[in-house]
């Protein structure tokens, strides 16, 4: 088992401090790679990235437009694939995952890590201690060179 440890991010909202499960991941495609912050959402089925992020990485999008259900409204999306990596001092987890890229009706701006990525881990969200742990099985993590 390999653990990838993170912390909750405290962000101020009208009602006080919100604890948000934001982690660091590396996204890679077509020779480009960027470290970004993504939010864990166990209620989302797939990984979501904003349209301009897909444009930056030069992702090829599916021809078919599908319909998804957002928090309040339906939206159209296309799919693609991007490599998502996590690292700790000893190991790297890398996986090519399917992502949804909004076409119409969605303007969410964050990267959302849903089941399509989280299914590779035992996910612990410890709100009391503000700690997050993603535990990957040994076979899915590579030793660092």
């Amino acid at each position: 088992m390999t653990d990838y440890k993170f912390k909750f991010k405290r962000e101020w909202i009208d009602l006080g401090w919100a604890l948000r499960p934001k982690i660091k991941v590396t996204l890679s495609a077509n020779g480009k790679s960027k470290q970004i912050i993504a939010i864990i959402d166990t209620g989302s089925d797939l990984v979501y990235i904003p349209k301009d992020m897909a444009d930056y990485f030069g992702l090829s999008l599916s021809k078919n437009e599908l319909t998804g259900q957002g928090a309040e409204t339906e939206f159209s999306y296309r799919t693609s694939q991007i490599r998502v990596s996590l690292e700790n001092p000893h190991k790297i987890f890398r996986k090519l995952v399917e992502v949804m890229v909004p076409a119409k009706g969605a303007d969410h701006k964050d990267v959302i890590l849903g089941t399509g990525f989280l299914e590779n881990f035992i996910v612990t969200l410890d709100y009391k201690n503000e700690k997050i742990n993603l535990r990957a099985h040994q076979s899915t993590s590579e030793k660092k060179q």
């Binding site: 993170f6 912390k7 909750f8 991010k9 405290r10 962000e11 101020w12 909202i13 009208d14 009602l15 919100a18 948000r20 934001k22 660091k24 960027k34 470290q35 970004i36 912050i37 939010i39 959402d41 209620g43 989302s44 904003p50 301009d52 992020m53 444009d55 930056y56 928090a71 309040e72 690292e87 700790n88 001092p89 969410h108 701006k109 964050d110 959302i112």
Partner: protein, 66 residues
């Protein structure tokens, strides 16, 4: 832990002055800011020394429902 330096800075720091913006963090500084991921990523690409920068959006100060 060097690989988490920018992440540690991100989790500990209040970036409210950048709300609604995208920012790139390198070590313990905001080195680039802009209105979109693409804009910030392309600015980071122009500075090789920032290649390991951590890019994130700073949300507006309101409750979220994903």
């Amino acid at each position: 832990m060097q690989i988490m330096a920018e992440y540690d800075y991100f989790t500990k720091t209040n970036f409210s002055e950048y709300k609604g913006k995208w920012i790139a963090l390198f070590k313990d500084k905001v080195v680039v800011s802009g209105d979109s991921f693409k804009e910030v990523a392309e600015l980071v690409d122009k500075h090789r020394e920032f290649s390991k920068a951590l890019i994130t959006r700073i949300p507006e100060e309101m409750a979220q429902l994903l």
